[in-house]
């Protein structure tokens, strides 16, 4: 395994949480949108692929009764990649599904995000659009579900 020694994972705490959030968004990007972000990216670095992109399985776990001990529910396909940029920055990506190019680009953006000089651009040009799309989709689903909420009312019977 390629162990990180960049600042962000060494320090723990908040930077880790930021990177975790960034990687979560990259994992949820669509293949089309991440390809478009990469196409628009100016000053593309050299990218060396250290691992993958390769597809494998993870065993998903549920919990007995919903909150109890874990049990193995079934598997899902996952694709992962690790890349190194010309400047030495190493990026990882894992995402559900089998979109290899998407995951390779996610690893590239993870590597870019770790470079202080690039972080702002990744944040604004890549992560925020993904986050906004996800938020919109989730809010639409929530509002559509809310419209199917049952409003109970009591029938008053008889004449009083």
């Amino acid at each position: 395994m390629i162990k990180e020694n960049t600042q962000s994972t060494q320090t723990g705490g908040a930077p880790d949480l930021q990177r975790k959030a960034a990687m979560a968004l990259l994992a949820q990007a669509t293949a089309q949108e991440i390809a478009a972000f990469w196409a628009e990216w100016s000053d593309k670095p050299d990218v060396e692929t250290l691992r993958g992109p390769e597809t494998g399985l993870v065993m998903l776990r549920g919990r007995i009764g919903g909150g109890g001990a874990p049990f193995n529910l079934g598997e899902a396909t996952v694709t992962r990649a690790t890349v190194r940029l010309g400047n030495g920055s190493v990026g990882h990506a894992y995402a559900l599904g089998r979109h290899r190019e998407k995951v390779r680009l996610a690893a590239v953006f993870d590597a870019l995000w770790q470079r202080p000089e690039c972080r702002q651009d990744v944040q604004q040009g890549v992560l925020e659009p993904i986050a906004n799309r996800l938020k919109q989709e989730q809010e639409a689903t929530r509002a559509e579900t809310a419209a199917t909420k049952v409003d109970f009312f009591t029938m008053v019977r008889g004449d009083d």
Binding site: M1, I2, K3, E4, T9, G12, D16, L17, R19, K20, M23, A24, A27, Q28, E54, T55, G56, L57, V58, M59, L60, R61, G62, R63, I64, G65, G66, G67, G68, A69, P70, F71, N72, L73, G74, E75, A76, T77, V78, R80, T82, H92, Y94, A95, L96, G97, R98, Q138, A140, T141, R142, A143, E144, T145, A146, A147, T148, K149, V150, F152
Partner: protein, 368 residues
């Protein structure tokens, strides 16, 4: 002596070519696309993912197309595919309490916090065929309602506060969840392995068993405490990073079945529970699973084992439709030599029978 017989290569090759032709059907009709299957046959896709035990909608759609819509064949294809891939690890447990809910109902509490959310359900439809669907009639966008994002606590937690219902199931200290894809099953099983087997079990088989419990074979007087359908995040811990990674979200259906009481001299009576969790939107399967889970807890709960649905070895050994179809369907493959041996045996038995009959007649004649 073993005699190998070769033959039929050309017939098999041509049969598969014919299969490909029949699968394609009339060339004047457009070939169905995988995204059409994912979008418009989504519950078939969900069933293939659940029983194929592999979450990947595009792969399930491909399997359905390849299997000409035969879902058990599609499940078989998915199971075969998964054996070609390496396992990266086990995810953290899915937190269904954090689900982004698309449907959530309770048959036990009318006014539960967060409300009864019907979602995209067949319930309350009239089950009348809709001729308009035969055409490409435009479909309106769904209604939306602005609601504050209120928490939707699990019904079992609401009941749990008073100790009126048993807690979520725990395993003995230090137990690691068993994995039937890695170790052959040995009975009796713990609940974790039973749930894994049930989650991939055949919907029809589990539905029939669940129905049998309602009809009085291992009656448990069930109520649907809660069904919830929606998306949950998947997290994986990997060696190269110090924090769990979010891989994306999957849709699951969860059923909390609340059943009649259990108590002892030490413990006051409380409701017992059965649990169902299934990939995709599949509440019939999740409900069946929870009823079977509850029935199969008979030993743990000290109940008499009187019905098939309580017989762990019977239920779990026959719930997997890939195993079942493999063994049932293998009967149609050539058994010429086996059957030749049987023919030989029955000829000898019949000859012996005839000899005995003749001898009997001779003895009878001699006696007369």
């Amino acid at each position: 002596m073993y005699v190998a017989v070769k033959g039929g290569e050309a017939a098999i090759r041509n049969a598969h070519k014919l299969l490909a032709d029949r699968r394609r059907g009339d060339r004047d009709v457009a070939s169905i696309q995988l995204d059409q299957i994912v979008e418009q046959m989504s519950l078939a896709v969900d069933r293939v993912m659940a029983e194929g035990s592999l979450y990947d909608p595009e792969l399930a759609a491909l399997a359905i197309k390849q299997a000409r819509g035969d879902l058990i064949e599609a499940i078989f294809l998915v199971r075969a595919y998964r054996t070609t891939l390496a396992r990266f690890g086990y995810t953290k447990s899915l937190e269904t309490a954090q689900m982004r809910i698309e449907r959530r109902i309770s048959a036990t509490f009318k006014d539960l916090p967060g409300g009864q959310l019907l979602g995209p359900t067949f319930d309350y439809t009239h089950r009348l065929l809709d001729p308009e669907l035969a055409d490409d009639t435009p479909i309106e966008a769904p209604e939306q309602r602005d609601e504050p994002d209120v928490p939707t606590p699990r019904v079992t937690d609401i009941l749990g506060h008073g100790g009126m219902i048993e807690e979520d199931g725990e395993l003995p200290e230090g137990a690691v969840a068993g994995d039937l894809t890695r170790e052959p099953l040995t009975f009796p099983l713990e609940r974790d392995l039973r749930l894994q087997a049930l989650a991939r079990g055949d919907e029809g088989f589990l539905l029939g068993l669940a129905y049998s419990t309602q009809r009085g074979y291992a009656r448990s007087h069930p109520f649907v405490g809660e069904i919830r359908i929606g998306e949950v995040e998947v997290e994986l811990e990997v060696a190269e990073l110090d924090f769990p990674l979010t891989l994306g979200s999957i849709r699951v259906t969860e059923c909390q079945m609340v059943n009649q009481f259990k108590g002892s001299s030490k413990q006051p009576p409380q409701f017992t529970r059965g649990y169902g969790l299934v990939f995709g939107q599949s509440e019939r399967k999740a409900m069946s699973m929870s009823l079977c889970d509850r029935a199969l807890r008979a030993r743990e709960l000290g109940e008499d084992i009187t019905a098939t649905a309580q017989d762990e070895e019977f239920v779990i050994s026959h719930s997997d439709n890939v195993q079942s179809t493999g063994f049932v369907e293998h009967l149609k493959l050539p058994h010429y030599v086996d059957f030749q041996a049987e023919l030989d045996l029955i000829r000898r038995m019949r000859a012996e029978h005839e000899r005995n009959r003749l001898e009997g007649e001779e003895t009878k004649e001699a006696a007369e």
